[in-house]
């Protein structure tokens, strides 16, 4: 049995048939460490026929009593391509010795774990991290991101740790090499460019203003650049390891009283507060990002490989329709107009299809995420990657501006959850489940996560996985975090 799993792993971790097959995986396939699965349970988790729900054990203490549940797909891939991570780490200054050099080794992990400078209370600034990574075309990118993204964020924040220690001071615009604020002689700069050094004209103000950047904007920027760094690391390590596929990445980071939710892909996070839904993400799909992708195709037509057109049509055009008029829209349009069909319009549309069937270049149904550097249009030499962005959208929720009860939570889930259950249904289900649950039960958020997951998976009937209303359940991998927003003092 185990060898079957091992075989599956070695096949899939390597990804699609290519030279990468001979490379070792960057990380072996597995489920999140916090599940603490035995080999038998790992094997059990891969049963597509029964789709068992995995949750954390009663004695496993995830930070904040975080609830978690996951289930494998109904057969669309051999392994569960979702991954998850939940970590408490500490943001620390890098040691003086290393401050001026890159703090990252090739694998993206701090060089100086044993030599942190003391920061704040001596242990660093606590950072809580929750991530869900929805892989496709293999598990490699999702596993690697689940192991490293929080470390990259921690280390990048470590570089500005001395600024975080003064939360009421705006970050200096310029830093000297030793990290201390650097004040250029801007007056001199101004004088050089105006004829009268004493004249403060509108134009000199315009040319010499300084924008004030908040500490929150700095943290957002650090998270954004950490996603880019993660993506670059995957690309770089493909030279030495088999890192298959790509993944949507959704991360929640709690730092100094604020919750930063960063999303690249079609996973989703909502806050449920007093039974109301506060959306924390937008999904990035071929439909929601149509204009960005069309704009890129319009500006860089060579990326379309003479096979695709950046113009959208409501259906494919046939040769017999040349010269007729067809509805279209380009990157500037939200509405539709008619255009006379020319030869170039016979190419396949860059964006095509509706809803879950919408695809970029007939290949992929999400438009942001990590990995996918080798992904090409089937039977062609056209790369998808330039159209995919690894940039997350980051939203911020101030935990301290709001009062939270024990039933107020952050729910994070991959699209398997949300495809069949709406935000409102999730909020109602969680609120209803938690209100019937002992507030002191350490398992209450995991049970709520399991309940949510069951609602989207359904039960196996003769005609497949079905919800109580007989609609089809989700056949996708499903991963859910339920994170309580009110915590005992000891947990902050």
């Amino acid at each position: 049995m185990i060898s079957k799993v091992k075989n599956a792993m070695s096949t899939l971790v390597g990804g699609m048939a290519c030279a990468a097959d001979s490379l070792p995986p960057r990380f072996p396939y597995g489920r999140p460490d916090f599940l603490d699965l035995t080999p038998e349970l790992l094997q059990y988790s891969t049963e597509h026929a029964s789709r068992p729900v995995l949750t954390v054990k009663r004695d496993s203490r995830l930070p904040w009593r975080t609830g978690y549940a996951e289930v494998i797909n109904a057969g669309k891939s051999m392994l569960n391509e979702d991954q998850a991570s939940c970590e408490k780490v500490f943001v620390k200054k890098p040691s003086g010795k290393h401050r001026n050099s890159s703090m990252l080794e090739d694998n993206g992990v701090s060089k100086v774990p044993g030599h942190p400078l003391k920061c704040l209370d001596g242990t660093g600034i606590p950072l809580h991290f929750w991530g869900v990574f929805d892989g496709h075309a293999g598990s490699g990118a999702a596993i690697m991101a689940s192991k490293l993204l929080h470390r990259l964020i921690r280390d990048r924040l470590g570089e500005v740790c001395h600024l975080l220690e003064n939360p009421n001071c705006a970050p200096p615009i310029c830093l000297a090499k030793n990290g201390s604020p650097y004040q250029a002689d801007t007056k001199k700069g101004a004088a050089q460019e105006t004829e009268d050094p004493d004249a403060v004209t509108d134009s000199s103000v315009r040319f010499h203003m300084e924008k004030v950047v908040s500490l929150q904007s700095l943290v957002m920027g650090v998270i954004e650049t950490a996603f880019t760094q993660m993506d670059n690391l995957i690309e770089k390590e493909k030279a030495s390891y088999a890192i298959s596929g790509g993944c949507c990445a959704l991360a929640a980071i709690h730092l100094m009283g604020k919750l930063y939710v960063a999303n690249a892909g079609d996973s989703r996070a909502i806050i449920i507060r007093n039974k109301e839904v506060i959306p924390m993400t937008n999904e990035f799909t071929p439909e929601s990002e149509r204009q960005r992708l069309q704009y890129l195709g319009f500006l860089r037509p060579e990326l379309l490989g003479n096979e695709f057109t950046s113009i959208e049509f409501p259906r494919r055009i046939q040769h017999s329709e040349l010269g007729k008029k067809m509805l279209y829209r380009d990157h500037t349009m939200t509405g539709w107009a008619y255009k006379t069909i020319v030869e170039d319009d016979l190419k396949f549309p860059l964006i095509y299809g509706e809803g879950k069937k919408a695809r970029v270049m007939a290949t992929i149904g999400v438009t942001r995420g990590l990995g996918d550097h080798e992904l090409k249009v089937y039977n062609s030499n056209i790369y998808i990657k330039p159209f995919l962005s690894c940039a997350p959208e980051v939203k911020v929720y101030d935990m301290e501006e709001n009062q939270h009860g024990p039933d107020d939570v952050l729910v994070m889930g991959t699209d398997g959850l949300w495809d069949v259950t709406t935000d409102r249904e999730v909020a109602d289900a969680v609120s209803s489940y938690l209100s019937g649950c002992d507030p002191s039960d350490p398992m209450r958020y995991t049970l709520a996560a399991q309940d949510l997951l069951m609602r989207s998976r359904g039960v196996l009937k003769e005609r497949g996985w079905r919800l109580p209303n007989e609609r089809l359940g989700s056949g996708d991998d499903i991963t859910v975090f339920v994170v309580p927003l009110a915590r005992p003092e000891s947990e902050t």
Copy 2:
């Protein structure tokens, strides 16, 4: 006195000193026709010292009893560079003779005004149009757009008039040359690409779906393409005429029970219904469109002419700061992070400045509009136009889904109005003014527009134009429409 105006006109209509000076203006300078100004009043309107408010006359019947007021700037340009139009026109089928050819003469006006096919009740489908055009660097583009944009929209809608007549039918995806729906043999097309012509696989569905497009989306698309056509027409006619500058364009189009508000620039429209504000536009400025512009500069660095960098910094960088770290953000980021300064970062940022002082390439403070084809960065050969977009954002308001009282209105204004008066203040002022006004007074909306305008202009004191709270009034040109949403049956 008049000759002074004439001189000013001939100087300014021609625009900046260039070969265009020797060309005739496309349209002579003037104020909107509906103001029906005498030469004396036209001269009076240009007095920067007194800034007289112009409104429509009591006996001028603008459609829907529309209210209007305008005032010249406090001296920043010799003439009022705002323009406005308010028209009731009829959408008609082009004649059969012309159906297959372009319906536009070179000046963008229908070739066949005297030969419309009868449509609906014989006169065509009524279309109401309100436009405000905020010019810069000359009046030419704003005047031309105020004369022609509504005609372009009317004529383009005329091409699909037969589809508008069946408001409950979705527009056909493909039209034959005679305008009738064309149904391709899609089954045959599908069969050619799947091995088994009878097999309906997921992939064949994906490749052969048809999107349903609503009539509303078609009208939106027609408006969007009419803006592009208007912009192309300005460019084309610059070969024969002096058409100076560019303009922000804000248009409201009422057609068949729906109000389409199309905005390209920093003018603004709000609906005030039951004293509540419904925003109908977003402003397009260097700050709001930063990422779009940075993306273009990133993908097409040659457009930056080796003078500008697409990366944003909070202030200019000095040579002495090379090698230090500075806050930055690129086209993927919302937050800020630190980067080590390299030689390339010493270039001037593509987007620079804050609020009303933000500029694209240190030159222009709006990012959408018509015209500006000749606009270059000062003392360089770098064109601004590729960064400016003529594409409007179109929002739709369903007039028939809502009940409107006599104090419910659409307010449209150039930025001169909104720079000093917030949406909320405008809504409070209009609601308060109208509620104290006889509902049957035909001038009530013009008086409300005049009241709004005075609130933003203020009164002339020793220290310039001041509001009652002593803050500075707007020194810009100001143009305001107040359009009632409830109308007598006879006016629909």
